[in-house]
């Protein structure tokens, strides 16, 4: 996994609650057995109409959001299905950070596993960030995983809380399985004690 510490980049805004993982990556793309290449299918049914034309009204089709690496979203983002393909799709579409008032538990965990930074801020702060975005020219934010802050171009700083062990793993790009296997002896001891019971 690639280490990640600071993302200074353009933001995109998807201001609606309860965006489920069926929308982030529709089921017709879950039949692939590869781990890569899902970005082109992210939000597919919202981005394109039945004939494959871009829907001009959909938020993420707006030109000022092109190239965004940070997504500002509504509460309960990533609810629903456990499909990690949702995190793969967002990451492959360029998003390294999602900022929202709350997240589906499984999505949050999946996103951290693939090296994305999931930032939870109070709802009023997320709204404030959304309102600060220049809808004509686009805006940038800086998300700093070392300092645990989101900073606007005007210098407004929003601190956020973050799980310490997940942060350590993200900052160092560590593989979860490698880390767990350093506790191999404890796993074996547990298995032995269970069998003896």
């Amino acid at each position: 996994m690639k280490a990640i510490s600071e993302v200074s980049a353009r933001v995109a805004v998807l201001d609606r609650p309860d965006v489920d993982t069926d929308q982030i990556i529709p089921k017709q793309f879950l039949k692939r057995i590869e781990r890569t290449g899902y970005g082109q299918y992210a939000f597919f049914d919202w981005r394109f109409d039945e004939d494959g034309n871009e829907r001009s009204g959909f938020a993420l089709n707006q030109p000022q959001f092109a190239g965004a690496r940070i997504l500002l979203a509504g509460r309960n983002f990533g609810c629903g299905s456990s499909r990690e393909h949702a995190a793969w799709a967002l990451q492959d579409a360029g998003f390294d950070v999602v900022i929202a008032p709350s997240f589906g538990d499984i999505f949050r965990s999946n996103a951290a596993k693939v090296g994305m930074v999931i930032v939870q801020l109070p709802e009023d702060q997320v709204k404030e960030l959304m309102e600060s975005v220049d809808l004509d020219r686009g805006s940038e934010l800086t998300v700093d995983l070392e300092a645990l802050t989101v900073t606007t171009p005007e210098g407004r700083v929003f601190p956020f809380a973050f799980d310490a062990s997940t942060r350590y793993r993200l900052l160092n790009g560590l593989d979860d399985i490698d880390l767990t296997l350093t506790h191999e002896a404890e796993i074996t001891a547990y298995e032995t004690s269970r069998e003896a019971r």
């Binding site: 609606r16 609650p17 309860d18 489920d20 069926d22 929308q23 529709p26 089921k27 017709q28 879950l30 039949k31 692939r32 057995i33 590869e34 781990r35 049914d45 039945e50 509504g74 509460r75 309960n76 609810c79 629903g80 299905s81 456990s82 499909r83 990690e84 393909h85 995190a87 709350s102 997240f103 589906g104 538990d105 499984i106 965990s109 999946n110 596993k113 693939v114 799980d163 310490a164 062990s165 979860d176 399985i177 767990t180 296997l181 506790h183 404890e186 796993i187 547990y190 298995e191 269970r194």
Partner: protein
């Protein structure tokens, strides 16, 4: 030190701690890892690339369910076939037991686990599928995981988990006649909201839970993830033990009595505490029908489609407006006047033998409305055989239903069973998300009885009124 009682969840959690260091997630041992074709190929590939093996193939069980066709014949979709072939090859290469298509023991992963007796009280159970919460009905700690975690469990038989907050959801009062577990859980989600359980593991309790069969308890626990909680548990009792006794993987002989004695200790202590306590009154509950694009957008069948203006929260109002547009409904429309094109009875929520019996009771002697295409998809090959031995298949076929082979089918439409754009479906599944059953498809979640009645009448009807009136078709 004051010793307080422990909840069911805390007991199961404590029994599975491999490692617990301050400031780090708990390393939790996993007793049963269920695997299916969609969320596993990348995990097996990860093992292969790292030169790792499956640590405990004896605790790993696979089946084919998500994209298998429900009509006889070969898999014609080349991508689905590649995924199913990959699962077969991976199970062979890594020594994992596979209940593949045609084996006679295949079916939806959350149906076959309990049916084979693999699901047991006190176990930790995971699967790359959010509806793994189903197995909590047995007093197991069961939750869905992503593919990275699937790989982690395959390699280590453990998971790193933050200890979740706990919630007690108490269903208060007796369930009125004609109501089902599906109405209980949909009613609860309507009350607490689709994000009401985020960050929690929930224990379902109350007299109306104790009165439910295992099938109905599974329906409740299945939909735990639909209100954001990752796992939902019900304390094991005589109903649980009676369901499990004699099943292929259940303990036998002396082991059985030892197991039951241990399982009896799992129920929450009377002085157990929870971070949150929610009460849902079921005494006034009516059959539930969803009107929108998430399971919290739900009303009684006797009601009308809500007016978005009635929502005080701006985001909720916008979401309701978008939902009505997508669903092709207007505010104030009576639910009973909504006509359906398709009926789907199936999914890991409602495809077990008792669900099919309940639906067949409604269908018996009736005829599917000529405007409706109706499908029954048993949850497993065994459920299908059992239903056929009871003649339920004939009840459905005589009425004009299609009787299919086991699988996830139209719950998520990864196989050929999908809605066409604009088609409206009364579905016994768990998600009414946009496009879930097919792009542009419109899903209304209901109980098996309500789905069966909608098939006969061509629109939603209150099943409680049916006993009094003959079917008018």
């Amino acid at each position: 030190m004051v010793v307080t009682g422990r909840s069911l969840f805390e007991k199961v959690w404590d029994l599975h701690i491999v490692r617990d260091e301050t400031g780090e997630p708990t390393l939790l041992y996993i007793d049963l890892h269920l695997v299916h074709e969609v969320t596993s190929p990348q995990a097996f590939e990860g093992l292969r690339l790292a030169g790792r093996r499956v640590r405990r193939p004896d605790l790993t069980v696979a089946t084919m369910d998500h994209n298998v066709p429900t009509l006889p014949g070969p898999v014609t979709d080349p991508m689905a076939k590649a995924q199913l072939d990959a699962l077969r090859a991976n199970c062979e290469a890594f020594g994992v037991e596979l209940h593949g298509t045609g084996s006679g023991s295949e079916g939806i992963v959350h149906v076959i686990g309990p049916e084979l007796g693999l699901t047991q009280p006190g176990k930790t159970i995971v699967c790359g599928d959010s509806h793994t919460s189903t197995h909590g009905a047995f007093g197991a700690l069961a939750f869905g995981i992503g593919t990275s975690e699937v790989e982690h469990v395959l390699a280590t038989q453990t998971l790193n988990q933050q200890r979740p907050k706990t919630m007690l959801l108490e269903f208060q009062g007796d369930l009125p006649p004609g109501l089902t577990a599906k109405d209980m859980i949909l009613g609860a989600i309507g009350q607490v909201g689709v994000d009401g359980g985020v960050g929690y593991v929930v224990e379902y309790a109350g007299e109306s839970i104790r009165a439910l069969s295992m099938e109905q308890r599974m329906t409740i626990c299945n939909m735990t993830i639909e209100w954001g909680a990752r796992a939902g548990l019900i304390a094991p009792d005589e109903t649980t033990f009676a369901y499990l006794e004699g099943r292929p993987h259940a303990p036998q002989g002396d082991d059985w009595s030892r197991a039951v004695a241990a399982w009896r200790q799992l129920a929450s202590d009377p002085d157990a505490t929870y971070d949150t306590h929610v009460v849902v009154d079921v005494t006034e509950l009516a059959p539930q029908v969803t009107w929108g694009t998430n399971p919290g957008m739900v009303v009684p069948v006797t009601s009308t489609v809500p007016d978005p203006k009635s929502f005080t929260d701006g985001d909720d109002r916008d979401a309701a407006e978008r939902a009505l547009t997508y669903m092709g409904l207007r505010a104030g429309q009576p639910i009973e006047e909504i006509a359906v094109d398709r009926v789907f009875i199936g999914s890991c929520t409602n495809s077990r033998i008792e669900d099919l019996r309940a639906a067949a009771e409604i269908v018996r002697g009736g005829t599917v409305d000529p405007r409706v295409t109706a499908l029954v998809v048993p949850g497993s090959a065994q459920v299908r055989r059992q239903a056929e031995s009871e003649g339920l298949d004939q009840v459905f076929l005589d009425a004009g239903f299609e009787w299919r082979l086991a699988g996830c089918s139209m719950c998520l439409g990864m196989n050929p069973d999908v809605l066409a754009p604009g088609e409206r479906c009364a579905s016994t599944s768990n998600r009414n998300f946009e496009g879930r059953q097919g792009r542009g498809g419109r899903t209304h979640l209901v109980s098996p009885q309500m789905a069966a009645a909608a098939a006969l009448h061509g629109h939603f009807v209150d099943v409680r009124a049916l006993a009094a009136e003959p079917v008018a078709s």
